[in-house]
Amino acid sequence: MLSGASSFASLVDDAFFFILVVSIIFFVGIVATMIYFVVRYHHTRNKKVKNIEGNLTLEIVWTVIPTLLVMGMFYYGFIGYSDMRNVPDDAMKIKVTARKWSWTFTYPNGYQATALTVPQGKAIKAEIESEDVIHSFYIPAFRVKQDAVPGRDTYLWFRATEMGKFDILCTEFCGDRHAYMLSSVDVLPQEQFDRWYANTGKQEISGGADLSKTGEKLVTLKGCIACHSIDGTPRVSPTFKGLYGKTETIYTDGKERQVRVDEAYISKSIKEPAADKVKGFENIPMPQQDLSDDEIEAIIAYLKSNK
C-alpha cells in the first residue's frame, strides 16, 4: 500500500475507507439480492409472476437512507478539505515554480533547488505558480494536490509525519515530457533539516570560483535540462552536449540559415527564445527566462565545458 506520510493521510484514507465500507456493503447486498432473485424467480421455478407496481414505503426508505449516508460522506470529505485549505500561521513558505517540464523550489532565504527538502512535523506552505501551461503539484504519499495555473497563485500545505523520500509528480497534462516532470520530497528530522538549511545560505548562484560549475547548477535549477539533455540523449530540444561551437541550421523569421553556436548566439537564444528556431525543433516553444547577464555568462561557460 501507498504510505501515508503527512497529517492529511489519515484524514483522506479514513474518509476513503468509510465510503469504501458503505459501498462494499451496498454492492455485495445488491448483487447478492440480484443473483438470489435470478435463481429463485427463474422461470423454471416460478411460472406465476406478481405484478407489484411499487411500494411507497420502500421508495421512501431507499431515498432517505442513502441521503443520510451521502451527507455523512460529504461531511467527511468536507472536514478533511477544510483542514487542507486552512494553513497554520507558523507554516514555512516555500515557492513552487512549475514549468515544462521541471519544478523549482525557492526557500525563504533565496535558496533554490529542484528537489524539495522539508523538516518532519513542521507545517509547510507551498505557494505554487506556473511559468507556462497548467501543471499540478502532487505528492501521493501526503495526499495533497494543487494545480499550478499561469497568472494565478495557488497554494497547498502539509505537515510531513514520516521521514523518507517521497515522489512529487505532475498530474495535469502538460506536453511531451509530462510523465517525466518528477521530483521528490526528502523529509528530515528538524535538527538535521536546520543544519542543512543553515548551509544553503552559502550557496552562490553566480560569480563562484568555477563559473562552469555554476552554469551547470543553473541549467538544472531553471529547468533547461527537462528539454535539453546534458549527455546527448535525444529529447524534445537540442542536447547541450557538444552544442558550443557546432554549426546549426536555424530559421529566423521563417528564413533558413546556418549559424555557429557562439556566445552571442546563446545569449540571444536565452533572451529571445522565439527569434531563432533550430531546424527540426521549430515547433517547440522555449519559455522566456529571466536570467541576469552573470547567469548567462555562467551558462555559456558551462556549455563550453560540455564537449
Partner: protein
C-alpha cells in the same frame, strides 16, 4: 375496406429494408428520411468509430506493457489518448444510443410513424458525417492530431502546434448534430404520441431519451461557444482564456464542464433507459416503481447540470465553490440509487428468462454499481484531492460510461437487433463474448482504480517502477476485453447476414415495437394504435 382487409394489409406490409424509395442502393440509405434507416446509418458510423477507438486504447495499453518507450514516442502517445477520448466521447457514446436505438425506437415506442422533423433528422446524421470528415482531416493534415487530451485545457491547447483548431471545429459541428437530435426528440415526444399515450404511459426508454434531449439542447451550445472561443483565441489572438493575453484559464474549465459534466448523464441516461426496458421484459412482469424510475431520469438530468465544479476541486477555484459543488454532487447519487433499487425489486416474484440481453442488463448493474459507488469517493472533496487526475478517475469513468452505458448499448443490440434487421444471433458465441468482456473489463479497470489510489497519474506516457506489475495486469486484461468486443461485433455481423429469421416478438415484450412486424414497415403502423394502459403489462399467469 373491411377490418379484415386492413389486418391483411398490415401483415403483408413491406419491411422498411425492402421499400423502394426515390433512390436505391447506397443513396437509398444516405438520403433516406426514414428514422429506422437513419438509426442504422448511425449504428454503422458509430461502430466504425468505436472499433478505431478500441484499437487506440489497445495501443495505449501496449505502450504501458514495459517502462520507457515500447511502441511509440511520447508525442504519439499523447495524440493517441486525445484521439481515443475524442472518438469515444464525441463520435461514439454521445450519439451512440440516442442516434441509433433512440432514432429507431423512439417513434415506434410512442406509436408514431416517424420523428417530428424527418429531414432535420437526416441533417443530424450528415452533420455527424461532416464532423467525422473534418476530424479525419485534422488527423492527416498539417501538424496532425491534437495532443491536448479531449478536454482541450487552455493555455496548453492555445500553445501547442498541433491541429487543435480543426479538431475543435469538428467537435463544434458534432455539437450541432447532437442539438438537432435533441430538438427532434423533444418535439416528437410532445407532438406525436399515439392517442392515449400519456407521459406516464410512455416506456421508460422514452423518459430517458426525453431527459437526455433537454441536456443536449440546453448544454451543448455552451461547449459549442467555448470551443469557438478557443478557435478565435488561436487564430486571432484574442485573450479570453490565455493568461499571457489577460485571459483566465479557469474560466475555460468552468465553461467546458458546464457542458461536459451534464454530458456524462447524457451518455448514461439512455443506457439506464435500455436497462429499464430489458429488465421487465425478461422478468415477464410490470416494472417496480415506474414513476420513481421515470422521474429520477429527470432528477438526474436536472441535478446533473449543477455539479460541474467537482472536476475542479484542485484547479484553483475558490474553496467555497468546491464545497458547494461537492454537496450538490452527492444529490446525483440519490435518483441513481432509486433506479438501481427499483430494477432489482423488479426481479422479485418475477419469472425470469435469462437471455443475452438480460445478462447484459445484469452486467450493466454490476459495473454501474462499482462506477457509481466510486463516484461517491470522487465526490468527497478530500478524497478527490488525492485521486483527481489519476488512474482512479480513469477506472471510475470507464466503469460508468463503458461498463455501464456501452454495455447497455450492447444489450440493446441483442434485444432490439432481431427487430431492427429481422435476424436472431448465435447465442453461445454471444455468451462467450460477454464472459471475455467481463473478465477483461474488470481486470483492466479495477486495476486502474487500484493504481490510481496508489498515485499513478493519468495521461502518463511512462510509469514509475512501483506501478509496473499493475500495468502488466491491466494490459493483459485489455487483451481479453478486446477479444470479447471483437467476438461480439463478429456475432452481431453474423446475425445480420446469416442469422435465423426473427419472429415478431422473440422475448415476449409488451411495448409497441413488439406489436409491429419484424422488421417494421416503412411507417411502422398502418393504423396508429390507441393506448389504454402503461407499457409493461405482462400477464400474471404464464402461458
Amino acid at each position: 375496406m373491411s377490418r379484415h382487409a386492413v389486418a391483411d394489409a398490415v401483415r403483408t406490409q413491406e419491411s422498411y429494408l425492402d421499400v423502394k424509395g426515390r433512390y436505391s442502393g447506397l443513396f437509398g440509405w444516405i438520403f433516406s428520411v426514414d428514422h429506422k434507416r437513419i438509426g442504422l446509418l448511425y449504428l454503422g458510423s458509430v461502430f466504425l468509430f468505436f472499433i478505431v477507438g478500441i484499437f487506440l486504447g489497445l495501443f495505449m495499453r501496449l505502450e504501458q506493457l514495459t517502462m520507457g518507450e515500447t511502441l511509440m514516442t511520447a508525442n504519439m502517445y499523447n495524440r493517441l489518448f486525445t484521439l481515443h477520448g475524442v472518438i469515444m466521447i464525441f463520435f461514439f457514446i454521445i450519439p451512440g444510443i440516442a442516434g441509433t436505438m433512440g432514432n429507431f425506437f423512439l417513434p415506434i415506442q410512442i406509436g408514431a410513424k416517424d420523428v417530428f422533423f424527418p429531414r432535420l433528422n437526416l441533417l443530424s446524421w450528415w452533420l455527424y458525417l461532416a464532423g467525422a470528415v473534418l476530424a479525419l482531416f485534422a488527423i492527416f493534415s498539417g501538424e496532425g492530431m491534437a495532443d491536448t487530451g479531449w478536454t482541450f485545457y487552455v493555455p496548453y491547447s492555445v500553445q501547442t502546434g498541433t491541429n487543435v483548431t480543426l479538431a475543435l471545429f469538428a467537435a463544434f459541428i458534432l455539437g450541432f448534430s447532437s442539438i438537432l437530435t435533441g430538438l427532434n426528440f423533444i418535439a416528437t415526444v410532445h407532438r406525436l404520441r399515439a392517442p392515449g399515450m400519456t407521459f406516464h404511459r410512455m416506456p421508460l426508454f422514452i423518459w430517458s431519451l426525453y431527459s437526455t434531449a433537454w441536456i443536449q439542447v440546453l448544454a451543448t451550445p455552451v461547449v459549442g461557444i467555448t470551443l469557438l472561443l478557443v478557435i478565435l483565441e488561436r487564430t486571432l489572438g484574442i485573450g479570453i482564456f490565455n493568461p499571457a493575453m489577460g485571459g483566465d484559464p479557469i474560466l475555460f474549465q468552468h465553461l467546458f464542464w458546464i457542458y461536459s459534466h451534464p454530458a456524462v448523464y447524457l451518455m448514461v441516461l439512455p443506457g439506464m433507459g435500455i436497462v429499464s426496458e430489458i429488465i421487465p421484459t425478461f422478468c415477464r412482469r410490470i416494472i417496480f416503481g415506474y414513476k420513481a424510475i421515470a422521474w429520477s431520469s429527470v432528477g438526474i438530468a436536472g441535478v446533473g447540470t449543477l455539479v460541474w465544479g467537482h472536476h475542479m476541486y484542485v484547479s484553483g477555484q475558490s474553496s467555497t465553490a468546491s464545497i458547494v459543488f461537492s454537496f450538490l454532487t452527492f444529490f446525483v447519487a440519490i435518483p441513481t440509487a432509486i433506479k438501481v433499487f427499483n430494477w432489482v425489486a423488479t426481479m422479485y416474484k418475477a419469472s425470469i428468462k435469462v437471455e443475452v440481453p438480460f445478462l447484459y442488463a445484469l452486467a450493466f448493474l454490476f459495473h454501474f454499481l462499482i462506477g457509481g459507488l466510486t463516484g461517491l469517493m470522487n465526490a468527497a472533496i478530500s478524497v478527490d484531492v488525492h485521486v483527481h487526475d489519476t488512474y482512479f478517475i480513469v477506472g471510475h469513468f470507464h466503469y460508468t460510461m463503458f461498463g455501464g452505458s456501452v454495455f447497455a448499448l450492447f444489450g440493446a443490440l441483442y434485444y432490439w437487433g432481431p427487430k431492427m434487421w429481422g435476424k436472431m444471433y448465435h447465442k453461445k458465441s454471444a455468451v462467450v463474448a460477454l464472459v471475455l468482456q467481463l473478465i477483461g473489463f474488470n481486470m483492466l479497470y479495477l486495476t486502474m482504480m487500484y493504481m490510481g489510489y496508489q498515485g499513478m497519474p493519468r495521461r502518463y506516457y511512462d510509469h514509475l517502477p512501483q506501478f509496473h506489475d499493475a500495468h502488466l495486469v491491466a494490459t493483459v486484461g485489455s487483451w481479453f476485453l478486446v477479444t470479447g468486443l471483437l467476438m461480439m461485433i463478429g456475432t452481431l455481423i453474423h446475425s445480420i447476414f446469416k442469422g435465423e429469421k426473427a419472429p415478431q416478438n422473440p422475448w415476449g415484450g409488451t411495448t409497441l415495437e413488439w406489436q409491429v412486424p419484424t422488421p417494421p414497415p416503412l411507417e411502422n403502423f398502418d393504423v396508429v394504435p390507441t393506448i389504454t394502459s402503461g407499457p409493461y403489462n405482462h400477464k400474471e399467469e404464464a402461458e
